[in-house]
């Protein structure tokens, strides 16, 4: 085909111009793909954080605002009625984590029956504090307790073993021993997080004490990304039986979180609304709304990628297309005589336009290839240079400020402490997807088409006489 021959000759013999236009497009496309990949990387990092917090497979969590915390210093709230006695007192207190209220376990079943819900599981998180109330004699002259008097805290997660694929325990991987199974539901067995096990010197077969009750460690587990894991996982029913709360002997039939899996991503919004109707006072959180609650460098990276990145990509693309179009029009202007001659030889305008267009499109394809190469380069730079991003999420998004326990000279106070949060560190990797590459190629060809249309329009308007009058 003569068109292809002519095309090849033009691109080869006007190599510098071809390269300049292709590189212009390539830079624009390379930026778009790199930024797309970086944005996807940040999104993946966010997903990793959310999975670390609530487990893979959980689309929605339901929590409850706790009853308003008693004002610090008011008599019934200020202490446990414990005053230093003649001897040291060992205490093993089980409490609810700061900021979480209680839900009826019956709600789990009601939620599971909602349309668009594939499964729902309850969870009960406990905080186990072991502390020593020192004897009056051991208190220093200023009434300050010795350092050993400060409580040691472990977090305990009651796991609904009938739904092993929901909740934070679902993403735990067994390092040694075994996982908890449905047959463990009534036993005093525990799976222990590997880093907690390491600091406490625990192995499979060790015994731990939670709320004055012995549990035997059957497995050491690890969460895929550090951060949101609990120290100890035990069967939900055991956790409910152990815990006391506000005068209740136990928390039977209570949970503090319901983990919900939706049938598919598109139904999450609808399910979220249904749950809100069913449990009007509950806090219903989806990964999307949780993502908004993420703060820290990850959130910064996300908003940077979303805002600056998108603008940068658009500007780069427009600039690349404009440069390519201008260069193409200029190239056509330089070839006025050539095209006029072809028209004098009897070439139709459409054939001349097709020639200009196909030159541009091929240049665009070359730009796409170079752009994809640049994108891979840019992405590998991001992946090697990218800092580890950290994300901070309130333990119970949307809850009242969490509470903590501390000791002072007059005994133990429940005191409101700000910032009971999870900080999760993730390494960002920007993936180049097939979609991004296809996008790049489409963009480049579009760029070539746009540039070619300008050039072709110029060539079509050309009257052959214009070409002939000019003698250089």
């Amino acid at each position: 085909m003569f068109l292809l021959l002519y095309l090849r000759r033009e691109l080869r013999r006007r190599l510098r111009q071809t390269v300049v236009i292709a590189l212009g497009l390539a830079v624009g496309i390379g930026l778009v793909v790199t930024i797309t990949a970086a944005t996807a990387g940040v999104r993946n990092a966010q997903a990793a954080v959310l999975h670390a917090l609530y487990g893979i497979g959980t689309d929605i969590t339901i929590t409850m605002e706790p009853p308003p915390p008693p004002k610090p210093g008011s008599p019934q709230a200020s202490d446990f009625g414990l005053t230093p006695g003649a001897k040291d007192q060992q205490l093993d207190l089980l409490g609810l984590p700061p900021g979480l209220g209680l839900l009826d376990e019956a709600s789990v079943a009601s939620v599971a029956r909602l349309r668009g819900v594939t499964a729902a599981a309850g969870g009960l998180s406990l905080v186990d504090q072991k502390l020593t109330v020192p004897s009056a004699a051991s208190l220093g002259p200023g009434g300050k307790p010795p350092a050993s008097a400060f409580p040691t805290t472990s977090t305990v997660d009651g796991v609904d073993l009938t739904h092993p694929h929901l909740g934070p325990f679902a993403s735990a991987q067994v390092g040694s021993g075994r996982s908890l199974t449905a047959t463990d539901a009534g036993s005093n067995v525990a799976a222990v997080d590997s880093s907690y096990a390491a600091t406490k010197g625990l192995t499979v077969g060790s015994t731990i004490i939670i709320g004055y009750t012995k549990f035997s460690v059957v497995g050491i587990v690890r969460q895929p990304r550090g951060g949101g894991s609990s120290d100890i996982y035990i069967p939900l029913a055991r956790a409910q039986a152990l815990a006391k709360f506000k005068g209740l002997a136990n928390l039977n039939d209570k949970v503090d979180t319901i983990y919900v899996a939706a049938a598919n991503a598109s139904t999450i919004d609808a399910v979220q609304k249904e749950i809100a109707t069913l449990l009007p006072s509950a806090t219903v959180t989806s990964s999307a709304s949780l993502a908004n609650a993420v703060t820290g460098s990850l959130a910064g990276a996300a908003s940077l990628a979303n805002q600056l990145g998108r603008w940068l990509a658009i500007v780069a693309l427009i600039a690349a297309f404009a440069v390519a179009s201008l260069l193409t029009v200029a190239a056509v202007a330089r070839r006025v005589r050539e095209f006029g001659t072809l028209k004098a030889l009897g070439w139709r305008s459409s054939r001349v336009v097709a020639q200009v267009m196909s030159e541009s499109i091929v240049t665009g394809i070359l730009g796409a290839v170079a752009g994809v190469a640049m994108a891979f380069g840019g992405v590998s730079v991001i992946n090697t240079l990218a800092p580890t991003l950290s994300a901070t999420v309130a333990q119970n998004p949307g809850s009242a400020p969490p509470q903590n326990v501390s000791l002072n000279d007059s005994g133990m106070h429940r005191q409101v402490a700000q910032g009971a949060t999870h900080t999760v560190a993730v390494h960002m990797t920007a993936p180049v997807t097939v979609t991004a590459i296809v996008l790049a190629i489409i963009l480049a060809i579009a760029g070539g088409l746009i540039a070619g249309s300008f050039g072709g329009w110029r060539a079509a308007r050309l009257r052959p006489v214009e070409a002939l009058g000019r003698v250089e």
Binding site: R13, R337, L345, G346, R351
Partner: protein
Amino acid sequence: MYTLTGVTKNYRKRRETIEALRGVDLDIADGEWLVVQGRTGGGKSTLLQILGGLDRPTRGTVTFDGRDLTSLPESTVTRVRAASIGFMFQAFNLIPTLTAAENVEAALVPLGVKVEQRRAQVAGALDSVGLGDRARHLPSELSGGQQQRVGIARALVKQPKVLLADEPTGNLDEDTRDEIISLLERLWREQHLTLVLVTHDTAIVERAPRVAEIRNGCLSIRQDTGTQPS
């Protein structure tokens, strides 16, 4: 071949109107060799463009081979040009990125000639202008005379009815000029062409059977020996 009646061409430049041709009446017979001469700005190129269907007159009719070019749609004029009208230019107007053979081939592209036949015709045309061995050369690798010979091959490869040449020797030295004119004369005889040649060159004018002169857009026949191609 051609009958022009009352051909007028006005160019509008801002408020001014330039009358490049004023009521030209002209008959050009089949196989005629017509030289058009005249001072610069007289309207010679304008006349050639109108003969070639590259431009339309403001008034008047141009009948080519029995058809009125002024009333045909653009696409038909383009087809007539592709099939029947060859052009030669003062600046040769070869496509710089194409070889000599490919430049000649470009004239056959709009006719939809099959590739093998196209190659054969191109080789024949280059042979007939004595450039069979330069087929793969780029224009920049050829002398001015050789480039214009490629121009002749390109104009004649499709075996047109007429050849319109606008100062084809204007960019060449004297020896080369004679060479080109001799070649044109030979081909004119061999191929029974109708040749319209714009030139200032007195040597050519002397050899021409019929000479027209344009002054200020008005055409008059200055010399007509009545010689027909033998």
